[in-house]
Amino acid sequence: MSLPIIAEGVGVLFANPDPDLARAFSRTKNRGQRNKVMSLKQASAEFVHDGDYLATGGFGSNRTPLAACHEIVRQKKKNMAFAGHTTTHDFQVLCAGKTFNRVDCAYIVGLEARGLSPNARRYMESGAVEVTEWTNYALAARLKAGAMGVSFVPVRSMMGTDTFKYSAARLIECPFTGKKVVLLPALYPDVCVIHVHEADMYGNCRFKGISVADIELAGASKRVIITCERLIANEEIRHDPSATQIPFYLVDAVCEVPFGGYPGNMPYEYFSDEEHLKEWITVEKDPALFTAFLEKNIYSCEDHFQYIEKNGGLHKLQALRAKEFLLKTGA
């Protein structure tokens, strides 16, 4: 008795779905409670390599590690593969740096209600980037398979569409029901960056609001960089173990980057800077203007604080906090 493979997508797999490779990598990791606190500059230099498969946490412009995206662009990482899973402003920033040449696409170049990124479209229409198609849930499910330590996971979407045709999924018949089901290959990113509210020095993390696919992402990735709004004491973590979402043994680096989600929305902290996000879209229309904009906002900045200071600094942050909490402040 055998399970026929009914159809196969023609897309390229940018990461090996074999859990034994991920296991072999895990085995080499020191699992002790070590101090993993370092600068984002150091973490990016040490754990993000040219050619790596990269994924970012959050949801495009919401609890997204945007400081890390800037740093990766600043360090001129190249030839990466990228998980375009619910990506919006993060994709836009990485496109600005021409960081990747392979993308697993679920949602790219778009900025939701804000429109489309002119530069990301140019880059994606240039032919410089190899694309395999998926859906948002498919990429979340591929990460779930990775976090489970298996090589695939079944889903019941994508059938009958070009999204399937240009994916690297397989359509089989379920051996239990005889019905058709799509198998998605596991995704084990080489490195991911996740932005959270709080982390301790060992990498125990907690965040508030939606988790999107970050729990799965942390479990699937070979190396995990955490940026956090605030470092907290390990005692605080141990005071409420039910609240820990990402455990230390998955984490390689902990970087305290307050406002690391700016100009996006960090729930219960600050709302997105819509004015500045609109500026991104506007300047992208003119490549010369955009080059100057990137020089000002990324390449010439020492760190994320400089970027924020150039765009309104503490006054801006205070206003964004008021906006997050729906507060009507004077003027």
Partner: protein, 260 residues
């Protein structure tokens, strides 16, 4: 501002028509914009126990204002749960989500959608759009998929450049044969000119009512494929005074979507 409630624009007509399709005590998966406004309007009029979900994880918020993205903090403001994308999509896969609203650059006569690209070579698109996002998943899982879209020939096409999101696929029983869950599929297409469903056997798009001021002819003239006609084509009921009042004063007071 001083307009009487009898005046309404086409976006208001579409949002109102969409809201009326949402039964009470059901769940709807929405995005930003018109779908979100439609769900909010339904909650404040005919479907007070309608539950809103956002694909990024927001479940049952009390929306303080229109969200900018389906993952921003408004999408779980005073929600019953701030979950994960898997929570939402797997609730859908389990048959828990009744409705979803989707959109796209192109739609065909079976309600299939293209939100991926224009052109004929996937690796060299003439125009690159975002891709599926969660649309393919929502369309696969939710019982009734709806589309709110302007009626025009560039959008309603004979053949999609790319089939991103499944409607009834090739019509007939092709959707169920593809392996997608039976019983789910496109339900209503809501445009500025008309309301459409799908003829039960062929699964082809069919006009069931035309909006005030439009005829079937207008709809067909702005559609790139042949539309079926219901046995009786009604006139869509114009938005009521109450619907307009709620929409303008409570749902979208700044006119982000209805443009007032």
């Amino acid at each position: 501002m001083a307009a009487t409630y009898q005046d309404y624009n086409e976006m208001e007509m579409m949002i109102t028509a969409a809201a009326r399709e949402l039964e009470d005590n059901t769940i709807v998966g929405v995005g930003t914009g018109a779908p979100c406004a439609a769900a909010m309007l339904a909650q404040k009029t005919s479907a007070p126990n309608l539950v809103i979900m956002f694909e990024a994880g927001g479940i049952d918020p009390i929306l303080p204002e229109m969200p900018i993205t389906v993952g921003d903090s408004r999408t779980y403001f005073r929600a019953t749960k701030a979950g994960s994308m898997a929570d939402i999509m797997e609730a859908g896969a389990r048959g828990m989500i009744d409705y979803t609203f989707l959109g796209g650059a192109q739609i065909d006569m079976y309600g299939n959608l293209n939100s991926t690209m224009v052109g004929s070579d996937h690796q060299h698109p003439k125009v690159r759009f975002p891709g599926s996002g969660g649309a393919n998943d929502f369309a696969s899982f939710c019982w009734r998929m709806m589309v709110i879209t302007p009626q025009d020939k560039r959008r309603f096409v004979e053949k999609l450049d790319f089939l991103t999101t499944p409607g009834w696929l090739k019509g007939g029983d092709s959707r169920e044969k593809s392996g997608l869950a039976p019983g789910a599929g496109p339900y209503r297409i809501i445009t500025n000119m008309a309301l459409m469903d799908f003829e039960p056997q062929s699964k082809r798009m069919r006009v069931i009512s035309v909006n005030p001021g439009y005829t079937f002819r207008d709809v067909q003239d702005n559609c790139g494929f042949e539309l079926l006609k219901a046995a009786e084509i009604r006139e869509t009921k114009a938005p009521s005074e109450l619907e307009l009042k709620v929409l303008r004063e409570e749902v979208d007071p700044y006119g982000f979507i209805i443009g007032r």
